[in-house]
């Protein structure tokens, strides 16, 4: 094929790709094409379908409908290995490096160089060294991965992708862990790769960087393609507006008016690599929403408040008195409760029944030498009625429950210790609409009864529809606290992406 013709055929063509997970459409007929040497940005809110799309391209998921053309030929990317052989490489958010092995061992994993029978270690180290030099990195080729910083690991991932002669590189949020200087180096390398004809898909929440490095930008929202435009003509404000921009489609109960007294004061709370100088107040009966993009540090904040993470600085005051939360036991005893975002990972025990889950945190109250199982069961019965938990019996293991019912049990569990303040983290993730509405109603009735609530959610509508005030976080800091009319999707997105507020 002559070079001119080859250049005209797009490297990758995505045609009407859709993906459904158990009946839910997360990606809806998305099409685009990508030429050699092009850097293609994809932006969108959490859950817009970005990850699903790149997982389809790199062979991790299979599309429900639609087709992929690579170098003009229709292809089925069966698995990551197939994609790899075609020259498609994904640099994931979470690294795929083996910590106990060295840099060069990782780079040549699965494609080791050999001289007759034995591994040619010297050649591999030499090649690694030249790769790293090319990337202007000072990482030693024989350093163990576990001794490297996160940014250095990112470099190794990049070197690994380069070593296998990629045609298409997919970068998923590559700059979240990098400093500005390292980002500059990364962009420099990307431009070099671009020169040599490598196409790149670049996913990021940092809109300024997207504008800086990408040729084209695609906006996804709720799994649908909103627009593809040249980044020259697309300002960062337009990007943010396009990412949101929808009507509030869910019915929320009317907001209750918070009382005057402050129950929780957080001052300058810091956790290394996680939180920096976080300060806010929470009033009695208030719902304080926490918005931000994934990795903004909201869950980490909640975990610090309940003593799972150790703070390095700052004070926490409950009802005006400073408290030292050493561990969750202490936090719960002093009137805090936490509803975890990771329901099955840290919220409930799937091998336990309803009763045993609900009383797990508050078990002390049901125990005097022996457990008062009758009281436990009565209490559980009460929650089952109140929250309309559907189950064959109180002893049914939670693994047989739907997400919504599991969430209700998890909620009952955090409430049974009679908290004054409840930290709710992604309360409606993965549950159906009906259960969502119920959750909103429960939360609303609780704050009316004087409970105070920190509501962490990545669903904008939820934060906007429920909160009295909204705290927006970005990279471990609070960038803004919004009230009244300021609480809208655009404003939140501006603060969340760092276009407004303290960066």
């Amino acid at each position: 094929m002559d070079p001119v013709a080859e250049k005209e055929i797009p490297l990758l063509e995505v045609k009407g790709i859709s993906k459904e997970f158990s009946g839910v459409r997360v990606l809806d007929r998305v099409s685009f094409s990508l030429s050699r040497g092009e850097i293609f940005g994809i932006i969108g809110e959490n859950g817009a379908g970005k990850s699903t799309l790149i997982k389809i391209i790199s062979g991790i998921y299979h599309p429900t409908e639609g087709s992929l053309l690579f170098e003009g030929k229709s292809v089925t990317v069966r698995d990551a290995e197939t994609a790899h052989k075609m020259g498609i490489n994904l640099i994931p958010q979470e690294f795929n490096l083996i910590p106990e092995m060295t840099v060069s061992e990782n780079i040549f994993l699965g494609k080791e160089l050999r001289n007759r029978w034995f591994l040619d270690k010297r050649a591999m180290i030499e090649k690694t060294r030249s790769l790293l030099e090319h990337l202007r990195s000072d990482i030693a080729a024989d350093a163990r991965i576990e001794s490297l910083s996160v940014a250095q690991k990112q470099m190794v991932e990049f070197a690994k992708a380069l070593a296998s002669e990629s045609k298409l590189l997919i970068l998923d949020e590559p700059t979240t862990v990098l400093t500005r200087k390292e980002i500059d180096i990364l962009f420099e390398i990307m431009r070099q790769a671009k020169q040599s004809g490598v196409a790149m898909i670049y996913i990021s929440h940092k809109l300024k960087e997207v504008k800086e490095i990408c040729d084209k930008v695609m906006v996804l929202r709720d799994g649908k393609l909103i627009s593809i435009e040249s980044s020259e003509h697309l300002g960062v404000h337009d990007m943010a507006t396009k990412m949101v921009g929808r009507e509030l489609s869910q019915i929320f109960p009317p907001k209750a008016k918070p009382q005057e007294d402050t129950v929780l004061q957080v001052r300058n709370l810091s956790v290394p690599n996680c939180l920096e100088g976080v300060s806010f107040d929470l009033k009695r009966g208030e719902i304080l929403g926490f918005a931000g993009l994934v990795g903004a540090g909201r869950t980490e904040l909640a975990e610090t408040l309940i003593g799972i993470r150790k703070k390095s600085a700052g004070t926490i005051l409950l009802n005006g008195k400073e408290v030292y939360v050493k561990n969750p036991t202490r936090a719960f005893a002093s009137g805090l409760a936490y509803l975890s975002e990771d329901r099955q990972g840290s919220g409930i025990l799937t091998a336990f029944g309803i009763t045993e889950n609900i009383t797990l945190t508050s078990l002390k109250r049901y125990s005097r030498f022996l457990l008062k199982k009758k009281e436990e069961a009565l209490k559980a019965q009460e929650y089952v009625r109140k929250f309309d938990i559907k189950a064959a019996s109180l002893k049914t293991r939670l693994e047989f429950f739907s997400g919504g019912n599991q969430q209700k049990v998890s909620f009952a569990k955090s409430l049974d210790s009679d908290p004054q303040i409840i930290l709710i983290d992604e309360p409606t993730r993965g549950i159906d609409v009906q259960a969502k509405h119920e959750m909103y109603r429960f939360i609303h009735s609780l704050v009316e009864g004087g409970l105070s609530c920190v509501l962490i959610s990545s669903e904008m509508e939820e934060v906007i529809g429920m909160s009295n005030r909204v705290v927006v976080m970005k990279e471990g800091r609070i960038t803004g606290i919004l009230t009244g009319d300021q609480i809208n999707e655009e404003e939140i997105m501006f603060y969340a992406t760092g276009l407004k507020g303290v960066a």
Binding site: I306, I308, A333, S346, L349, A351, F352, K413
Partner: protein, 322 residues
């Protein structure tokens, strides 16, 4: 359709709970047919007495394994605690008060040895397998050192009555085994600690997020097994009126762990019953007894025991998958 599904579910739950009991019943019937001597009361009581030493340790081991741990040091610990018990007995003259001192010293020592395991495991964040493999060597070596590789011999005439004696025809060790089994079953099912042990073994992250002090729960399971070791050491040393530093309680850890596993407790933690462990211990005892009575070489008994353990785990795995 749904009724069928329900029925199959009920059947599965029942089998999970009573599987070991069925196995015991079948084994009992086969043994009774194979040898008429088997169902003689004396033989049955003898089997129960023989399994009570490792059975008692198995009760404590049940908690350790349900919480997600393991303790390999219990055999060596039994020898060490038993040896020091005899030294204490001789020191205080061998009378009733001496025996009470033995009980006190033994329980403190057992709890202390278990606490040492527990502290290294929880504070040092070292895998239980490694820690207890290490203390297994340490405890045995200390036993050998203290006795100069010989035997701890008691001078008391009263002491053996404890381990040799019987109440209502049933040997004392069997009484103690069963009483402790009831006690442990109550602890596991009707106390906060028992609930926490299961929660920690089921998912320690959820346990942490529920305000359970996971490390403390784990630590206490090792202390508990240490106390059980002390009771077992008391019964063993008083029956023999001596403890051999090199031979006493060798491989007890294997029998104790095997009883727990055969009893249906998952090696991965989270679930299990004390009742099952008692059954598991008795199954092991009957297997040994039958092999003896059928005149099978004692050298082959290990092979059979090993196959029984592996078989039990295989059956459990199958149950889970189906």
């Amino acid at each position: 359709m749904t009724i069928k599904l329900l029925l199959s579910k009920i059947r599965r739950i029942d089998f999970e709970k009573y599987g070991p009991l069925f196995a015991l019943a079948i084994l009992f019937i086969i043994s009774a047919i194979a040898s008429p001597y088997f169902i003689k009361t004396r033989n049955l009581l003898n089997i129960l007495r023989q399994v009570s030493y490792t059975g008692i340790i198995g009760l404590g081991m049940t908690f350790v394994i349900i919480s997600g741990g393991i303790d390999l040091s219990v055999g060596s610990m039994t020898a060490l605690v038993g040896g020091i018990m005899i030294l204490t007995l001789n020191h205080f003259g061998g009378g009733v008060s001496a025996i009470l001192m033995v009980l006190l010293v033994g329980i403190l020592l057992g709890a202390g040895a278990g606490a040492l395991n527990g502290i290294i495991i929880t504070k040092g964040r070292v895998a239980p397998f490694i820690v207890t493999l290490g203390t297994m060597a340490v405890y045995r070596s200390l036993t050998l050192y203290i006795s100069n590789a010989g035997e701890f011999r008691s001078n008391s005439n009263l002491y053996p009555e404890l381990g040799m004696g019987a109440f209502l025809e049933i040997p004392n060790p069997v009484w103690i085994f069963f009483l402790l089994a009831i006690l442990c079953s109550i602890i596991l099912n009707y106390t906060k600690f028992g609930r926490y042990v299961r929660a920690v073994g089921s998912n320690d992250k959820v346990a942490t997020y529920s305000g359970i002090r996971v490390d403390r729960v784990r630590f206490l399971t090792y202390v508990l097994v240490g106390v059980m070791v002390a009771v077992s050491a008391l019964l063993l040393s008083s029956r023999l009126n001596s403890i051999s530093s090199s031979n006493a309680a060798v491989n007890y850890e294997l029998d104790a762990i095997a009883a727990v596993i055969i009893g249906g407790t998952a090696m991965s933690g989270g679930s299990g019953t004390v009742f099952g462990t008692v059954i598991g211990a008795i199954i092991l005892g009957i297997v040994n007894n039958m092999l003896n009575m059928l005149g099978i070489s004692p050298y082959l008994q290990g092979t059979v025991k090993g196959l029984v353990i592996i078989g039990a785990v295989l059956i459990q795995k199958k149950k889970k998958r189906s």
